[in-house]
């Protein structure tokens, strides 16, 4: 194989006129010129590879950064926050010396191309973020969005995605404890595969991604590096530097969960023996990202010999090695005298580990290949000084018309019989139907600490076996609401996740998010994004739950058509004793059902408007975060003091959906009475926020209503747990058998 001379730093300085394919690598002209300006010369091919991936939208957040700053600027004070935005994942104090780290990420596009592997590697990536903080991963969640349920491509994408998430997460031994499945035609060519993970550690075990201490060794461990995900770098390698080589590089990365499981165990063992100074997972932008971030967050520089990277494919060029996104790799910084022990642990777990470089006292990141220096940069310029765009944004001109198309004016059922039919149709509609066919493909029990898993309002994991300390997590997002009003829509997502956590008895502490939007180059999309971020930041400030980290996924669109703006919000909560958790299922006949909160006519973006009228218009439900906070306090107090035996938050599908779910899960029916001042339709189907239904043992009724009264939370007695049907007094009844069939057969019929 013939090769032009190695493009070293010297060579680059001596050949200023060599043209590099910066445009093919996704850089804009002015971005390339910035690189030249920073370096004072043209970049080498390897440097160009690094800058181009690190300055990509995905890695640099160049379109979103200016807005995301609000999460920091408006962050509420929180004693719980131990590590904030900017690290691999945020860390929250949950008491008793424990800290919890959690984060949600997207793997949308890869999952459309290859559903199984795309989704699987999405789980793999988020879990490595958690390990990199020093934590043992304890659970995963998976908020998902697909095209229309009956679209043929959904039958390709959904089963693959679900099998991939399960295949990877199950094999890692991580219980899947929550998520979402939403169908909407707007996600047809752009399914959203978000994956979240939670990890637990002791405070003293928190690790950060930084390389300090000159002389410390940089160890790459895990899978060998192959040609995965380096489409761009192949251009660089084949066209400019080595025409002879076939640029046959896989666009799809294949995950190896077994390798990742070994990576988890050996990393945790190394942490336990305090062998690690700094650590970083290899995700997007692979070694480029890991080395530049480790170096720029530390005190010194770093020198790396790329020849020492173990390869799966010996034909890889140095540029490709730097950009490769091969999965299941980590990079650790280890003091020289601890290197042997570190390598020993890796060997114990059959994990390949190699010293590839060391920390220097300089402030440069230098990378060598075949004896030549091919990278010599200030790592900060790669990792942190990427371009920042103030993209233009503007409220789209169709927004007014959309909001004026009021869903409250849609024709409503005229008779009790018609209302009954609509309820049945709603309960059976793909978005409201049971997701058991999906969630039963996930292990909920592994690790033996699962207190609550789907279909509960939030997943809950026991953290300490002695004290019963636990954490809860819920993820929510409603693209329909956000489309009608992105500011309110983001707050509704936050409110729902917050409420879901509180409904199970846990106190909401912190937030992570995954912001899924269309193209930032469209001012309308950019406005949706800006509004959603502003809404979420304002909401978090008001609720006192800081954003600890998250992820942005842009360009989710096909041609001109963007997905609904879809901010997905994850709320993490803590519960002192998991024995006090509140489940969704009705527990005992005779218990009294109370509706907490206010109900008004709110049908904009509702499930009813979608299922019955295929309509999206008007305004989403109003948000009252003070009310959400009060509701949460009541739910938590009631759980702690044993005043309620079950609870379910109200969200899409309204009250009837919640009652049906509690009834089916508990195998006990309910008799409901329409409260004064409400009609049956609004009572059953409105989607007013800030509400929950609780089941109160008769012995606790007085204590419970007194508490609500004293705190000023409306609590309306709406019925009783009873029988084997759901009866709406004076209107209609539906047997549990009929409801079960409607609720549970839809998804298997579509997908099995």
């Amino acid at each position: 194989m013939s090769r032009t001379p190695l493009d070293t730093v010297e060579h680059a300085a001596a050949t200023p006129d060599v043209e590099l394919p910066w445009a093919e690598l996704g850089l804009k002209k002015d971005e390339y010129e910035r690189v030249v300006e920073i370096l004072g010369r043209r970049p080498t091919g390897a440097e160009l590879a690094m800058y181009s991936v690190m300055w990509s939208e995905h890695c640099s957040y160049k379109s979103s950064k200016v807005h995301l700053r609000q999460f920091g600027e408006k962050a509420p004070h929180s004693d719980a926050m131990l590590v904030g935005i900017g690290e691999n994942a945020g860390v929250v104090d949950v008491g008793q010396g424990y800290a919890v780290t959690f984060k949600v990420e997207s793997h949308n596009h890869p999952s459309y191309v290859e559903p199984y592997q795309g989704a699987a590697t999405g789980v793999g990536g988020i879990v490595r973020d958690i390990i990199a903080m020093g934590a043992r991963p304890v659970a995963v969640v998976d908020p998902l969005r697909f095209g229309a349920a009956d679209h043929p491509d959904t039958k390709r994408v959904l089963p693959g995605v679900v099998a991939g998430i399960g295949g990877y997460g199950n094999c890692l031994g991580l219980p899947n404890i929550g998520g979402e499945v939403v169908f909407d035609a707007c996600y047809q060519g752009n399914p959203l595969v978000n994956a979240g993970a939670i990890g637990v550690m002791r405070h003293e075990d928190i690790h950060l991604a930084k390389a300090s201490g000159a002389g410390n060794k940089v160890i790459l461990y895990g899978a060998r590096t192959g040609g995965d995900g380096i489409g761009g770098a192949s251009i660089l390698a084949s066209e400019t530097f080595d025409d002879a080589k076939p640029s046959k590089r896989p666009a799809v990365q294949v995950g190896d969960p077994f390798q990742e499981k070994l990576l988890i165990e050996c990393t945790l063992e190394a942490f336990q023996e305090k062998l690690v100074v700094g650590i970083q997972d290899l995700g997007a932008a692979g070694l480029s990202c890991a080395t530049s971030e480790l170096a720029s967050n530390g005190s010194g520089g770093m020198r790396v010999t790329l020849d020492d990277v173990p390869l799966r494919d010996s034909t890889l060029s140095p540029e490709e090695i730097l950009m490769s996104e091969s999965q299941e790799r980590m990079c650790a910084v280890v003091e020289p005298e601890k290197v042997d022990r570190f390598l020993e642990i890796c060997e114990k777990w059959d994990v390949i580990a190699t010293v590839i470089g060391e920390v220097t006292d300089g402030d440069r990141l230098e990378i060598f290949w075949h004896g030549g220096k091919i990278v010599d940069v200030d790592p900060r310029t790669v990792a942190h000084d990427g371009p920042v765009y103030e993209r233009p944004y503007a409220r789209p001109d169709w927004q007014d018309a959309l909001q004026a198309d009021d869903a409250n004016k849609l024709p409503r059922p005229a008779t009790a019989e018609e209302l009954r039919e609509q309820v049945l149709k709603l309960v059976a509609s793909p978005n409201q139907a049971s997701k058991k066919w999906i969630t039963s493909q996930y292990d909920h029990f592994v690790q033996g600490n699962t207190v609550l898993a789907q279909p509960e309002d939030s997943g809950m994991i026991r953290v300490d076996e002695e004290t019963g300390l636990g954490v809860a997590i819920a993820t929510d997002g409603n693209g329909r609401y956000a489309k009608l009003d992105p500011y309110t829509g983001a707050q509704l997502a936050l409110a729902e996740a917050y409420r879901n956590v509180a409904t199970t008895g846990a106190k909401p502490l912190a937030v992570s998010d995954c912001l899924n939007f269309g193209s930032p180059e469209d001012p309308a999309v950019m406005w949706q994004f800006a509004e959603a971020v502003r809404g979420l930041a304002d909401g978090c400030l008001q609720l006192g739950t800081p954003v600890t980290g998250g992820n942005v996924s842009l360009y989710n669109q096909t041609g001109e058509a963007a997905i609904h703006p879809t901010p997905v919000v994850a709320v993490l909560g803590v519960i002192d004793d998991v024995a006090r958790r509140t489940p969704v299922a009705f527990q005992e006949e005779g218990q009294l059902l109370y509706l907490l909160g206010d109900t008004s006519e709110e049908f904009g973006g509702s499930a009813w408007s979608q299922v019955i009228h295929d309509h999206l218009g008007g305004l989403p439900p109003k948000v009252d975060l003070e009310r959400e906070r009060l509701l949460a306090e009541i739910l938590i107090a009631a759980s702690r003091d044993g005043m309620i035996d079950s609870a379910h938050d109200l969200s899409d599908g309204g009250l009837i959906q919640a009652v049906v779910e509690s009834a089916l899960l508990g195998e006990k029916g309910a008799r409901l009475i329409v409260p004064d001042g409400l009609d049956a339709f609004t009572f059953l189907l409105s989607e007013s926020a800030g509400r929950a239904v609780v089941a109160v043992p008769r012995s606790e009724e007085l204590r419970f209503t007194d508490m609500c009264g004293a705190r000023g939370l409306p609590a309306t007695r709406i019925g009783v747990v009873d029988g084997d049907s759901v009866e709406i007094q004076g209107a209609f009844g539906l047997s549990l058998a009929e409801l079960r069939e409607a609720h549970e057969n839809t998804i298997p019929a579509l997908l099995a």
């Binding site: 995965d228 590089r249 294949v254």
Partner: protein, 87 residues
């Protein structure tokens, strides 16, 4: 009746964790001298009627659209006379 076999293998540049795991186990089992193992799928299709060009073309389509995931896999279609012999 004829048997058509479709062999589906991961593309060479795609990671094959299964093959790797098998290969790594070999020395422990006392097997040396095998430098690489790849694991793929084998489909045996029993075809009614003659396996002519048209039939093979259709099976090729089937392999391409359904049996193999051509994003990550290659495939080969072969005719195998069923010689009555058990394997």
């Amino acid at each position: 009746m004829a048997r058509v076999v479709v062999d589906v293998m991961l593309k060479p540049e795609i990671l094959d964790p299964q093959g790797q795991a098998v290969q790594r186990a070999l020395p422990r089992l006392g097997f040396e001298g095998i430098s690489d193992v790849r694991q793929g799928k084998r489909f045996e299709l029993e075809v009614e009627g003659p396996v002519d060009e048209a039939a093979l073309a259709r099976i090729h389509d089937l392999a391409e659209s359904f049996l193999a995931n051509t994003v990550i896999e290659d495939f080969v279609v072969k005719v195998e006379e069923v010689a009555g012999a058990a394997e």
